[in-house]
């Protein structure tokens, strides 16, 4: 495998991805990511100098609209989906000491 993924890289990607992997999962992820990157390195065979990166196939532009409420009040229904709610708010662990 040409791409060897270090423990530090997996640790760092875990932070970016907000994922907590077990030791076993980390080993598997190192292997999987390495072989995926080996495969993706095939793109380096292509000369893309001078080619503009294409994020969208059509020249789409941001769509603006007036900031007016178009839907009704569905607060109760939205809160019904919350894992934890209290007094009309989402409950999260304490974030400020």
């Amino acid at each position: 495998m040409a791409n060897v993924i270090s423990d530090e890289t997996i640790e760092y990607v875990g932070i970016l991805a907000k994922l907590e992997l077990s030791e076993e999962e980390k080993e598997q992820a190192k292997k999987d990511m390495g072989s995926m990157l080996d495969y993706i390195d095939k793109l380096n065979e292509l000369d893309t100098s001078g080619v503009e990166p294409m994020s969208h196939v059509f020249p789409v532009h941001n769509v603006f609209r007036e900031d007016v409420v178009a839907n009704g009040n569905v607060r109760e229904k939205i809160l019904a989906n919350a894992p934890k709610e209290k007094d009309g708010s989402f409950v999260v662990p304490k974030t400020v000491e």
Binding site: A29, T48, V51, S55, V57, N81, P83
Partner: protein
């Protein structure tokens, strides 16, 4: 009579002519579901009561003349990544195991306006990441032609529900082939429209620049009719395109004289099953005999589509799936210490292995130091791939090839080797990268008794060319159904 053997348009006509009621139609679907669902598992959620209630409402509107369209009263199944107000929407993931949307996706809303009756939500690969419907958190779906085989994916449940005649039609979504490949494996017809044609509002995003919703049905007429119903310009989707026309059914003509069809040599090389190759070339021959001009050509860059796709789709997925954090909806872990630990544990326990694999890869290719080398490189490759198609469509109206290199693999065979599974999408993925419309339809049965699909690709906004070719080819065949179909009517 076996109602479920009919197409959606045929059922719609019978309802309109008062030969059958909407309720009878819904009951026929439910009877077939009772007969076969235990063997194939097309659905994550069923809505029997809702469907029967809706049947009455729709019947009243048909009787009063308020609903007159071709799909009024016809039952439908919806892939479980499209939000449906008040009806569980899971994306086949544990992280959304209890999510009840407060609004309905635009495509489904368009169907409801046309008088559709939703029977339930279909199983899929978790967050549409997979090619077999085996990564669903709620267990795999099985192929109605042979339950030892996968149905393909990620819209596996939508395609099995149609093939096994549990519903006359369904909606799927296609990010890298997720409508066309399972349609091919299940012997049904599926269309991925031009990017921007069907609103993505309410479609739970995977790879936003690639995702498109499309129809799955038993024939081309149904697909064109359904597409006409769901396609719309929607200001709520910033990538929605205002098309010049939304007519697709006028292309349902048995005439391909002068239609220029290109066969990319690079789609018929190593890795393609001989039986698939023979059947697909047979479809080209049939169209040639009807007067189409068929020519071989070199498309080029085919082998670069998959690596570019996995960079782009994973990058977009890592960003799109950041919203699942156990705060506002879905799964939250039992025990945690502080906010960040709660996020991490909820996500790690809520997502399955394939989803985590792609989020990790996506986070990596977007991280500083690697962004240029991987993400921008993939976007540049995408631009080159688009150019090769632009060039091809200067010469051809339709590009014809296989939808997948093989027929449906056995359950369990694909997940052991992710790259091998990814390679199965070689003929479908570039179509998403270039935003093109593509269609898969049955063109034969292999020696194992499994359906083979042919793919027809058109230029952007030229769905009519592929619909015309597909309709003409369909006239040369009779629709074949798995033995399982028709059980509910016995």
């Amino acid at each position: 009579m076996d109602l479920m053997q009919l197409t959606a348009v045929e059922l719609g006509k019978k309802i309109k002519n008062k030969e059958i009621t909407v309720k009878e139609c819904v009951e026929a679907a439910l009877a077939q579901i009772d007969a076969v669902e235990g063997q194939i598992h097309s659905f994550v959620t069923m809505d029997r009561e809702g469907a029967l209630k809706k049947a009455e409402e729709v019947q009243a509107k048909i009787d009063s003349g308020e609903l007159t369209g071709p799909l009024a009263g016809v039952p439908v199944a919806i892939k479980d990544n499209m939000c449906t107000e008040g009806l569980l929407t899971t994306c086949s993931s544990k992280i959304l195991y209890n999510f009840v949307p407060t609004y309905t996706s635009e495509a489904v809303l368009n169907l409801e306006k046309a008088g559709a009756v939703i029977i339930g939500k279909t199983n899929m690969d978790e967050f549409a990441m997979g090619s077999t419907t085996e990564t669903s958190a709620f267990g795999p779906t099985k192929n109605p032609w042979n339950t030892d085989h996968v149905p393909g994916g990620s819209s596996g449940g939508s395609c099995t529900a149609v093939a096994a005649e549990e519903v006359p039609y369904a909606l799927g979504s296609d990010t890298g082939g997720s409508i066309r490949q399972p349609s091919s494996f299940c012997g049904v017809v599926g269309i991925k429209p031009t990017y921007g044609t069907v609103s993505r509002y309410g479609l739970i995003a995977y790879g936003s620049s690639l995702d498109q919703i499309g129809p799955v049905a038993k024939d081309v007429t149904d697909c064109a009719t359904i597409l006409e119903a769901i396609a719309s310009y929607d200001p709520k989707d910033s990538t929605s395109v205002q098309r010049e026309e939304y007519d697709f059914t006028s292309a349902l003509v048995d005439d391909v004289k002068g239609l220029r069809i290109g066969i990319p040599r690079d789609y018929f090389g190593e890795g393609l099953d001989e039986e698939v190759k023979t059947a697909v070339l047979g479809a080209a021959k049939a169209l040639e005999e009807k007067g189409a001009i068929v020519e071989e050509f070199d498309l080029s860059l085919v082998e670069y589509a998959i690596p570019a796709y996995y960079v782009i789709a994973s990058a977009e997925a890592s960003s799109n799936l950041a919203r699942f954090d156990g705060v506002k909806y879905g799964y939250r872990t039992e025990a945690y210490e502080g906010l960040h630990n709660m996020y991490k544990k909820s996500r790690s326990e809520g997502f399955g292995p394939e989803v985590k694999r792609r989020i990790m890869l996506g986070s990596f290719v977007l991280s500083s130091g690697y962004y240029d080398a991987y993400y921008l490189k993939a976007l540049r490759t995408k631009a080159l791939i688009k150019q090769t198609f632009d060039k091809a469509f200067e010469k051809y109206d339709v590009i014809l090839g296989p939808a997948a290199p093989t027929t449906a693999p056995k359950l369990g065979d694909s997940l052991s080797d992710p790259i091998k599974m990814y390679l199965g999408d070689i003929y479908t993925i570039s179509v998403n990268l270039a935003g093109l419309p593509g269609l898969s339809m049955p063109c034969g049965i292999d020696s194992k008794g499994l359906p083979i699909g042919v793919q027809m690709i058109g230029d952007c906004f030229k769905e009519k060319n592929i619909i015309r070719a597909a309709f003409a080819f369909e006239q040369t065949r009779t629709y074949q159904r798995p033995v399982m179909a028709g059980k509910g009517a016995e």
